[in-house]
Amino acid sequence: MHAESIRSLAARLAKRELSSVELTRAHLARIARFNASLNAFITVDAEKSLAMARAADDRIAGGAAGPLTGIPIAHKDLFCAKGWPTTCGSKMLANYVSPYDAHVLERFGRAGAVLLGKTNMDEFAMGSSNENSFFGAVKNPWDERAVPGGSSGGSAAAVAARLAPAATGTDTGGSIRQPASFTGVCGLRPTYGRVSRYGMVAFASSLDQGGVVARSAEDLALLLGVMAGFDERDSTSIDRPVDDYVAALARGAKGLRIGLPREYFGAELAADVAKPILAAIDELKKLGATTVEVSLPNQHLSVPVYYVVASAEASANLSRYDGVRYGHRAEGYRDLTEMYCRTRAEGFGAEVKRRILIGTYVLSHGYYDAYYLQAQRVRRLIARDFSDAFKRCDLIAGPAAPSVAFDLGAKTADPVQMYLQDIYTIPINLAGLPGLAIPCGFGDRGRPVGLQIVGNYFDETRMLAAAHAYQQVTDWHTRVPPGFE
């Protein structure tokens, strides 16, 4: 049953051919078996999960089932879940238990989902390899020498290894799409404002967006329908009706104009990634789509702009971790300044400190205009590139990452090399657009390759329909890493 789609599981649960307790137990058993090597989960609480499963079974028996009643879902450990640790992969919050549920958790709870556990992640979602977690690196199920990508690496690895039918993630610069690509699963980042950020621990507020990792476009559509919607507790949440994503899947790819940005197929793109991407685009053409070359001339500025804007916002967002009210507090300090300094020196890892320093620097007196304001101006140019491109096409397609998953430790010594992992995903975040990644083949050493599909604002339906059409004629998304069948 761990290979079944959520749709099929939900149908079997509704017919009571399968109970949520059985389903949850089966996944907990897989976690118990594989997590020691993969390290995809930070927190598993079988008792709590099974209690939710029992409640779901009662709900089904009572005829009050929702769309996800009884389906176990894992959550990236920055979604606050009442009564569960919410660590953000950090020593700072290692013992922090949230007193409330994030909006996304409320939505899943209402739909009847069972909370399967909290997944590993780069500390405060800062990273592209999941090597920045206080709880240790996550392994890629396809090759345990490889990283799973980041920052939602735990969620991607858990779904790839069939430890969970689906898992939430967040995508600030590619943190859902890049790990989905590295682990051969499907990952969706919705339009900024589509999913409430309330209860989702902030990294960079203007870029963060909650999304989901699953095994098919169809499951992504089902899950997005549950997560999306206006929430008055998030001022950047957008009050706009939620589309019926599942119903829209039937629209297929026929007649869609797919833009291929020249800049996404340049020298940075590894040949073993380019090949499956181009094959996937051919497949979409066979399904009735047409392609058009487009240009995103400011795309090369995305990474520097991102590291200014995201770091600036993060430097303020992370100021609340001061040891005063919750979280880690250093011991044996002599005064307030020492308490702050030691608490934060001990509580944060190297990458988080690096970003706080960058962010503090670019906001400082005398540097603000040259860095922060300039970055905001360029950000607008990048967004304009996309709106120009979307005048000529319906969707944009290209790689999600420049290479297949790299080896653990390969890029940890050089932050800039690590940051360049996100050249194809970051522009989408800067523009606030939706994007998804779906598996489309394998590159060197049998590591997965992901196709990225980007839509216009709130056009998730077309992205999902194209991905679904592709998955009706290919089987990359059904491949299971060896040893995890």
């Binding site: 920055l78 979604f79 606050c80 919410t86 953000c88 919050l93 922090y96 949230s98 007193p99 409330y100 994030a102 950020r197 309330y198 209860g199 989702m200 621990v201 902030a202 960079a204 507020s205 203007s206 008055e232 507790r233 998030d234 001022s235 950047t236 600036a312 916002e313 430097s315 303020a316 992370l318 100021s319 609340r320 001061d322 005063v324 009210r325 919750y326 307030l336 702050y340 503090t360 906001l363 400082s364 007196h365 603000y368 922060y372």
Partner: protein
């Protein structure tokens, strides 16, 4: 040598909203520590701010009342610094574009009127409080106040004395209470001032200023500015230089003390808060706020001066609060004449009664109706002015009908000329020395004689009549 004192004020007015500016927690004062701090106020991970529209409406109200410009579009920014009572590690404030720019507050200072120009007024959230009492070697943090909406009102440096600064602060205090945006309770910290003080040679360039923080009474404000100006003048006259710094006023010692210098001024790294959308204020919204707000006190003052011929000073005093001016108008509507007399009583006897009782004009034991009855009896000659004051005191004490008190205590004025003539005769006969003094040209002796008649009649004589009779009798017998 002459020195000119230059003062500008930054005032934090707590907006009278029921809930906080970015959360739904209550703003009520005096709750046990941390019982009015929500997840947002505690800055728990994952929480987000949501702007309270009422706070914006109060800022718009203020902008309209001072004739400022309401920004059609402005942003909230993060002011970054670490302090235990600042849960997020930044304060949400406005920096580049305040919600209100410009405007002026009219003040009456001495006999002159002046308009104090404002630089700006912006919205921001308050911090919590550090508690040092009752905690041995530890500091407690109470976050009930964290997130309380504040309007920071910044004046231009146009005040030229401590007294003038106090007149402005009082006028501003009256204004924000009048338009209902701030309750103005200074003990509870709802209205607090920072004073920027410098000194210069008249007409010369501005001197280096010092900022005195958190002055929460008009008296402290006055004392602090006076002390600070004197300190700066003495420093310069002794050949020293004023250093730009932030200072604290010590009310026990009546002096200001350096808190931090410009050198340790923090870099607050302001930037737009990405959790909040830019604030758009439409003309329609402004019109709606305008329709809901009471007319500002300056329009009432102008009417008092033109319609009732009150002096600017009287009019300014009457419009110190809406309750006071309502009281005045209600009493005048009954008395229907002598508005200046009514105003003097309201500003004098009744204001001091309110002051003694620490009550506002809606909570006085003397209603506008009772007060009007007393004035009417006085104007009709039924009671003397001194008896009127006495009746007022009695009404305040017993809340009885003033006419009943006059009756009970036999305070009805003696206007019977026969009785008064007899009383005057006996005083003239008994006070030979005073009569002689008067005749020798000592005018004061006349008043003393009137006083003697009043005393003899237990204050019931009509003093105007007594004067006339006395004058006639003294002149008749001397010629």
């Amino acid at each position: 040598m002459d020195w000119e004192i230059v003062v500008g004020l930054e005032t934090h007015a707590q907006l009278a909203t029921a809930s906080k500016i970015f959360s739904g927690a209550s703003t009520a004062f005096g709750a046990p520590p941390n019982t009015q701090a929500s997840a947002v106020d505690l800055a728990l991970p994952g929480t987000l701010p949501v702007l309270n529209r009422r706070a914006v409406e109060f800022a718009i109200r203020f902008g309209l009342a001072v004739g400022g410009t309401i920004a059609p579009l402005c942003a909230f920014e993060r002011k970054n610094y670490f302090y235990p009572d600042l849960p997020k590690g930044y304060q949400i404030s406005q920096y580049v574009q305040p919600v209100v720019a410009g405007g002026a507050v009219p003040i009456v200072f001495g006999d002159s009127e002046k308009r104090v120009q404002l630089t700006r007024a912006h919205l921001e959230e308050d911090a919590g409080k550090s508690l040092h009492e009752d905690l041995r070697a530890m500091t407690g943090i109470d976050l009930n106040r964290a997130g309380t909406p504040l309007l920071e009102i910044v004046s231009e440096p146009v005040m030229r004395s401590a007294a003038e600064a106090v007149a402005y602060a009082k006028a501003l205090h009256a204004l924000v209470r009048w338009i209902g945006v701030c309750e103005g309770n200074m003990q509870e910290g709802q209205f607090r001032c920072d004073a920027n003080v410098s000194v210069r040679r008249p007409g010369g360039p501005l001197g280096t200023r010092c900022e005195i923080k958190n002055l929460n009474s008009f008296r402290f404000l006055e004392k602090a500015i006076e002390y600070e100006a004197r300190r700066q003048i003495e420093l310069i006259e002794d050949g020293g230089r004023v250093a730009q710094e932030t200072r604290l006023f010590d009310p026990d010692r009546g002096e200001t003390r350096a808190m931090r210098t410009k050198e340790d001024a923090q870099d607050y790294r302001y930037f737009p808060d990405p959790d909040l959308l830019p604030l758009e204020i439409s003309q329609a919204w402004i019109a709606q706020v305008r329709a809901e707000m009471p007319a500002p006190p300056q329009s009432k003052r102008a009417r008092y001066e033109s319609e009732y011929a009150l002096s600017p000073y009287q009019a300014a005093l009457l419009t110190e609060s809406r309750e006071k001016s309502d009281f005045f108008e209600a009493a005048l509507a009954i008395v229907k004449r002598e508005p200046r007399l009514v105003a003097n009583w309201v500003n004098g006897e009744l204001a001091s009664l309110a002051n003694t009782l620490d009550a506002d004009f809606t909570a006085l034991p003397v209603t506008a109706g009772s007060f009007a009855d007393i004035v009417v009896m006085m104007l009709e000659g039924t009671i003397s002015a001194s008896a009127a004051k006495d009746v007022l005191t009695q009404v305040a004490r017993s809340r009885k009908d003033p006419r009943a008190i006059v009756e009970e205590r036999g305070l009805t004025q003696i206007s019977d000329s026969g009785a008064l003539e007899a009383a005057v005769d006996s005083v003239v006969a008994a006070q030979g020395k005073l009569v002689a003094d008067y005749r020798a040209g000592k005018e004061k002796a006349f008043n003393a004689l009137v006083g003697q008649v009043m005393k003899a009649t237990q204050g019931k004589a009509n003093p105007v009549q007594v004067s006339a009779i006395l004058k006639r009798k003294l002149e008749a017998s001397s010629s």
